[in-house]
């Protein structure tokens, strides 16, 4: 301990003098390290934003392939174990889950207010763009009342059905219950939506469309869709096959299409809509580009640091020689050299950390727009806006500290690796070391 403190007493002022007097070299080192840490932190920041957003999308929209067989065909062949076994052997398919759902058909989309459809006495389903407004205006005013379950929200992604007409009718005829899923067809994709609750009408809602009074059979959902469930609802026996990667969906679909099975009895659908696929692909391409840029950046930045360190070492070697000829202990000389390098590194870390800590951990609109470009005008805008807050909070912590720690760690690793290599080489070749 005494030896260490004695060494620090000797080495610290000398190293400080060398750094302060050799201003150009010191400033060059500081600038290089600062730029390296900061730019690496910026890279990581973007990477984390992209990754977090992708994970959110992936968790919200799992990659699945859905096989459907109608109940009416119950007497025909079922999804056999052999078939399931065959499908499970398809690359990227990991597991399966058998569920039941009702078939429904998307008939329109809209944005404002309650939409209505009543064709040939079929059961109308209405979807709300702004679920909170509608809840306020109808449920809070007491016109409608929740009978069972819960309100739909972005998390459960479900729907609320009319208990008096829709829910009870379905209940009696089709055994609809809360948590039962409705399979909605949206373009060429199918999305399952759970029934999360039922409501009843306390005071009739006077609603006119084209001067025609409308029925009160509304379904509240947190999406911008209108789904018409046919009166002749058909229960389906479904089987989901989960994929290990969202990006393998198209490939898996192609593979499945090539399988020989009874296409007339079964149909299968990818779980992801075109928008989600486009978004995920967009993020994936962005991440690939980031990785490539990162590799190039690593090579260049590591090269720059190594060149700087090597140049500094060659300059300092002359000082080492002088120290050696003056009889200075090897430990002090090596310690002084390490101290110089680490001092430059440490001082460069300070503004980098201040920069990271003082920066608002907010994702800029530009960045968000770039990430979500395919969707900003699409049907997932609402989802995007809701997820934005989640994204902000998810990334905030990463931006301020984890990112800077990783960036600092990266530069430190480069320095330590360099010092180790120099140490090994000089231990064998430098005469000043041993004499």
């Amino acid at each position: 301990m005494k030896q260490i403190s004695e060494r620090i007493r000797i080495v610290f002022p000398r190293a400080t003098k060398h750094l302060l007097r050799n201003v150009l070299t010191t400033m060059l080192g500081l600038s290089l390290m600062f730029l390296l840490i900061s730019s690496y932190a910026i890279f990581l920041y973007h990477k984390n934003v992209s990754q977090t957003y992708r994970e959110l999308i992936e968790s919200r929209y799992p990659a699945e392939v859905l096989f459907c067989r109608t109940k009416e065909e119950e007497t025909t062949t079922s999804l056999s174990d052999v078939f399931v076994s065959d499908v499970l052997k398809v690359p990227h398919i990991q597991a399966n889950n058998r569920t039941s759902a009702f078939n429904a058909q998307l008939i329109a989309t809209g944005h404002d207010g309650i939409w209505y459809e009543d064709i040939n006495d079929q059961i109308p389903i209405v979807v709300q763009t702004d679920i909170y407004t509608s809840l306020n205006s109808y449920f809070m005013s007491g016109q409608l009342e929740l009978v069972s379950g819960q309100f739909p929200d972005d998390k459960n992604g479900g729907m609320l059905v009319d208990a008096d007409y829709f829910g009870l009718t379905l209940d009696s005829r089709n055994n609809v219950c809360i948590r039962m899923k409705v399979l909605s067809e949206e373009g060429s994709y199918f999305i399952e939506r759970p029934v999360v609750g039922t409501y009843k009408t306390i005071y009739p809602i006077e609603h006119m469309i084209n001067d025609v009074p409308v029925k009160q059979n509304v379904v509240f959902m947190n999406e911008t869709d209108i789904i018409n469930i046919s009166d002749q609802l058909v229960k389906q026996d479904n089987m989901k096959f989960y994929l290990d990667s969202h990006y393998a969906l198209d490939e898996t679909m192609l593979y499945l299409n090539s399988l020989k099975y009874d296409h007339e009895n079964y149909s299968f659908f990818p779980s992801l809509s075109h928008d989600v696929s486009t978004l995920l692909n967009s993020i994936r391409i962005g991440e690939s580009s980031q990785k490539m840029i990162m590799v190039i950046y690593w090579i260049i930045s590591t090269g720059i640091v190594v060149v700087y360190l090597a140049n500094d070492y060659l300059k300092y070697r002359n000082c080492m020689r002088i120290y050696s000829l003056l009889g200075e202990k090897t430990g002090n000389v090596v310690c002084e050299y390490f101290f110089r390098i680490l001092a430059i590194f440490g001082v460069a870390c300070v503004p980098s950390v201040i920069l990271a800590a003082s920066s608002q951990p907010v994702i800029s609109d530009n960045l968000l727009s770039n990430i979500t470009q395919p969707l900003t005008e699409g049907s997932f805008r609402t989802t995007f806006e809701v997820q934005r807050n989640i994204l902000q909070h998810s990334v905030a912590f990463n931006v301020s500290w984890m990112v800077i720690l990783e960036a600092v760690g990266y530069v430190l690793i480069v320095i330590v690796a360099f010092l180790l290599i120099v140490g090994i080489i000089s231990n064998k070749t430098e005469y000043w070391k041993n004499k």
């Binding site: 000797i10 003098k17 060398h18 007097r21 000829l325 003056l326 009889g327 200075e328 004499k435």
Partner: protein, 222 residues
């Protein structure tokens, strides 16, 4: 003071640089070693400073066989070097350069700063030059700083390798006179490797080294 006993040395075990050199150096005396290039003059200095070790023979300094000592310890406590190219820290001031050498040799010495300043003043480095980075000093001034650095350590032996090789004649003469004067004043043993006749004439003894062998010893002492 220094006894070199039958020392031989070769760098690659093939070409012999020194062959059985034996010589003694005494405290308070100045010595010049001269001879053609490649005769082993600088090698002899390196051996005395513990930078290299002899293939055979012994070197004793103050009754210590330096073969048993660490080279850095020898340079820290027994011998100090003065170089042709000065070998100073270019970004440090004259005073700081000397201070570092003093701290290495005598880390716990009191009033070291005052001693350094006084010594530099004696060598003609005035107060304004003291605070200048040595890279801004002239060759003669830098060599004076080099001499001060060697003297400040308190080591009994000064080894100077062509100390005036980079200086003009007048400056070289000034520097040499100072070196010899202070050597006597501080009671050191000063060994100078040189090609200069002027230096040879100013030292107490001159040794001719030729082909690794000590051929001749002359004295200027009356």
């Amino acid at each position: 003071m220094i006894d070199i006993k039958n020392v031989s040395f070769s760098y690659d075990r093939k070409r012999s640089i020194l062959q059985g050199v034996s010589v003694s150096f005494s405290q308070g005396k100045t010595y010049s070693i001269f001879g053609p290039s490649g005769s082993g003059k600088s090698t002899l200095l390196a051996l005395m400073g513990g930078i290299i070790t002899p293939d055979s023979g012994e070197i004793w300094i103050n009754d210590h066989n330096i073969a048993n000592l660490d080279g850095r310890l020898i340079r820290r406590t027994m011998v100090s070097y003065i170089f042709q190219d000065y070998l100073l820290f270019p970004f440090l001031t004259a005073q700081e350069n000397v201070e570092i050498a003093r701290e290495i040799s005598n880390p716990h010495e009191n009033n070291g700063g005052e001693k350094t300043r006084k010594l530099l003043n004696e060598l003609g480095i005035n107060e304004s030059l003291l605070r200048k980075q040595v890279r801004y000093l002239s060759g003669g001034e830098q060599q004076r700083v080099g001499i001060a650095r060697a003297l400040v350590t308190g080591n009994p032996v000064l080894l100077a390798d062509e100390p005036t090789g980079n200086l003009d004649k007048a400056t070289a003469n000034d520097v040499m006179q100072l070196l010899i004067k202070l050597t006597k004043e501080y009671n050191k043993c000063c060994i100078i490797v040189t090609h200069s006749e002027m230096i040879r004439s100013q030292t107490d003894y001159s040794l001719l080294l030729d082909n690794g062998c000590l051929k001749q010893v002359e004295t200027n002492l009356k």
